[in-house]
Assembly symmetry: C2
Homo-oligomer: 247 residues x 2
Amino acid sequence: MPPTHPLNQEVSLSVIKTACSNCNLRELCLPLGLSLEELERLDDLVSTRRRVKRGDHLYRAGEGFDSIYAIRSGFFKTDVLLEDGRDQVTGFQMAGELLGLDGISTEHHTCNAIALEDSEVCAIPFSRLEVLSREIHTLQHHFHKVMSREIVRDHGVMMLLGTMRAEERLAAFLLNLSQRFTSRGFSHAEFYLRMTREEIGSYLGLKLETVSRAFSKFQEEGHIAVQQKHIRILNVSGLKALMNHQR
Amino acid sequence: MPPTHPLNQEVSLSVIKTACSNCNLRELCLPLGLSLEELERLDDLVSTRRRVKRGDHLYRAGEGFDSIYAIRSGFFKTDVLLEDGRDQVTGFQMAGELLGLDGISTEHHTCNAIALEDSEVCAIPFSRLEVLSREIHTLQHHFHKVMSREIVRDHGVMMLLGTMRAEERLAAFLLNLSQRFTSRGFSHAEFYLRMTREEIGSYLGLKLETVSRAFSKFQEEGHIAVQQKHIRILNVSGLKALMNHQR
DNA sequence: TTCTGTGGTTGACATGGATCAAGCCAACGC
DNA sequence: GCGTTGGCTTGATCCATGTCAACCACAGAA
């Protein structure tokens, strides 16, 4: 229960007020391409914020679905659990990306979404999004594009899991992270991993030892500098070349 | 160029007339849940049929996107090509399923769709589908569900590629095919594979020899009977058990 | 400071599936 | 008929990655 101190209330109101129209992620996120007036209509919809502490679930597989979530800050993973106890990380999501699209299909979430650092998301009630996207064509079209992009991304992961060897997978993973950090205005060459080696391995279909060895190898070869979770990419084209070392 | 013989024209017109409202796939396909009147409006949109001969492309990666396709009859595969020449089958599609959703994201197709037997598809101009789905809420919602289902399916494949061993993958694949044939009113226990061992292997991230060996093993163990592309499933629960033989 | 737990690294060894190679089978053209 | 071709099967061998195990590094608690 948050304090109702007048100052706090004012702050929280002003935060709500700045929803999408003032969010510096709007070019990466759902509002892409909307006019100012349209943005304000979207603001009405995206009024609920939710903080998720590191390690907490945003939602769990099996829970009823009613909202998708836009990540305002922080970092998430999604994972799927098989009946026999095996699980796999299906993705890592960062600011500006959407979570929960998998739940539309059955009205239930089909994976877990877990914060890898303290995070904040905007909840977007899905039925209201459908109503609004009937009225704002740009929003409708962009939402379709976002869903489609997710399908294309998944095909890329399938490709990676189906045809690449361990080092190629890790190189592809690092280049992908780097590219996503870049488009958020961060350094493309230096970043902190929010996930463990085990989580990377799960995502890439590898064991954590294999991931660790590949990191070491990349470092020996001068492609990257690794210190725990701190990564510096020294040689982008070297990594790209590694990705094509076909078997 | 089709002949313009009056009789032919009449036939083709009557075929067009029967579009969605009379199609026996409508409960599996886009029209699911629409009223009769809504169905007729969808018919207007889905007026173009296209025959695709075995081995021909329905579309190619890189081509401009303007329509999605509903499979009326036949069988397709989609595959993705990497710059370095590697490729992977990303899915097999059968009657009632949609093709082309990947193209929405960039307005270009990102994979190839190839008929594995002589097939027929209904082309659905995407921008007109967006217009209509603004007016028919059921259509809008169902389309979203279909896209979401594709994402969930892809997660399943990622799971398969990331955590399962060869025999588990093939067992999962056969059970999935069986289930899809069943929901189309065909035998769940007996069917013809439309794809080669190599294509199955590509989809499952295995070499064709491994696929072949797994088929032989399943046969020895009495789970299935294989004769070339003809498969009979003798022991469903045996196959299901195989899927959980964790490593 | 030490203790404890979590995550990471590295080595030695095992193994599942890839690779290479030979041969089989069914369909098709001549 | 016979030869050819594409797809499939099977065997022998190899190797990338998994497995098991020891140890290290750092963070937080006592």
